[in-house]
């Protein structure tokens, strides 16, 4: 266990491992995203109340689910970076922020587009949507805070603290539709039974959720690779890599 932990702390090992994972994960992710989207948009029946506008669910829900999960990944990486001062955890934390911000942006924009034909408005300041907007600003805050510091060690500490403090927002987002009166519907998929979505619509949605998790992983690894190279630019292995002309 500890040897694996140490291996994860090794930039060249992590760089090569991420390269070999991406070689198969990236094509599978793209195929799953295309298959899930085509299935959801063209091959499922319309919702009996919302008609065809509900088809936005196949990107809106996966983006929101993974944006929330991504925040936990960022906060855990931040905690590891703070406690064990592991540089690769710091790299992972920093890599999560722009991806999480983009996924939250997708969730907000597609939700807004979905809201217009369904609720008659693009935006409403209710608990779910406002707490998602706060999540978006938290992600952007981590990106901005890192850039604001000259001293990158200090920057990593500040970002780790911000991401840990921000975790308080995640259960609020999850529970917002139950705690407050909201235009946003409660969760359709529940682990504890009582899923309120027809299987013909559920399966493409599950495929898209898995595909978005894979997308997050791919983007995370790609961001980490770019970050590792920049941080390790003075080391011999990066210079050998640059000499060979192509990334590993």
């Amino acid at each position: 266990m500890w040897s694996l932990f140490h291996k994860f702390g090794s930039p060249p090992w992590l760089y090569r491992l991420s390269g070999s994972i991406l070689r198969w994960l990236l094509p599978i992710t793209i195929i799953a995203l295309v298959a899930g989207a085509v299935w959801g948009v063209l091959f499922t029946p319309p919702d009996f109340r919302q008609g065809n506008s509900y088809r936005i669910i196949y990107i809106h829900v996966p983006a929101a689910v993974v944006a929330l999960a991504g925040y936990y990944v960022m906060a855990i990486a931040g905690a590891v970076s703070l406690i064990w001062r592991m540089k690769m955890a710091d790299v992972a934390m920093r890599a999560c922020a722009p991806i999480g911000a983009t996924l939250t942006f997708i969730a907000l924009v597609t939700g807004s587009i979905w809201g217009k034909p369904t609720w008659g408005t693009w935006w409403v300041w209710d608990a779910r949507i406002t707490s998602m907007l706060i999540l978006f600003f938290l992600y952007l805050g981590v990106v901005a805070l890192y850039e604001a510091y000259e001293n990158k060690e200090l920057a990593a500490k500040a970002c780790a603290v911000l991401s840990l403090v921000g975790t308080v927002n995640i259960p609020i987002i999850y529970k917002s539709v139950d705690w407050w009166y909201s235009l946003h519907q409660p969760a359709s998929i529940k682990f504890t039974g009582g899923t309120t979505i027809d299987p013909s619509m559920l399966y493409p949605l599950l495929l898209m959720i898995v595909a978005f998790y894979a997308l997050f992983t791919c983007a995370l690894l790609l961001n980490m690779r770019a970050e590792i190279l920049q941080r390790e630019q003075r080391t011999a292995w990066v210079r050998r890599l640059a000499g060979s002309g192509e990334p590993d």
């Binding site: 091959f43 008609g51 088809r55 997308l215 983007a219 961001n223 690779r225 011999a236 640059a242």
Partner: protein, 66 residues
């Protein structure tokens, strides 16, 4: 396919503009998060390669072996 024609799929009984614009924006965002770090990595390696070549194979700055 649920729709009878491609025109019907584009139209989606009046919801087409909402659904397709949401998917297009998402596609753009996905391309961005996958392409941007790849471009950053390649550009960095190219710059470093140029730097090494200009300094005659010797890298400016301290080089440590890992």
């Amino acid at each position: 396919m649920y729709f009878e024609s491609m025109a019907a799929a584009l139209q989606m009984d009046g919801h087409g503009a909402f659904v397709w614009s949401a998917y297009l924006i998402t596609l753009g965002a996905i391309v961005l998060i996958l392409y941007a770090p790849r471009r950053r990595e390649k550009r960095f390696l190219r710059q470093l390669e140029g730097q090494i070549r200009r300094s005659g194979g010797k890298a400016p700055g301290a080089v440590k072996e890992v």
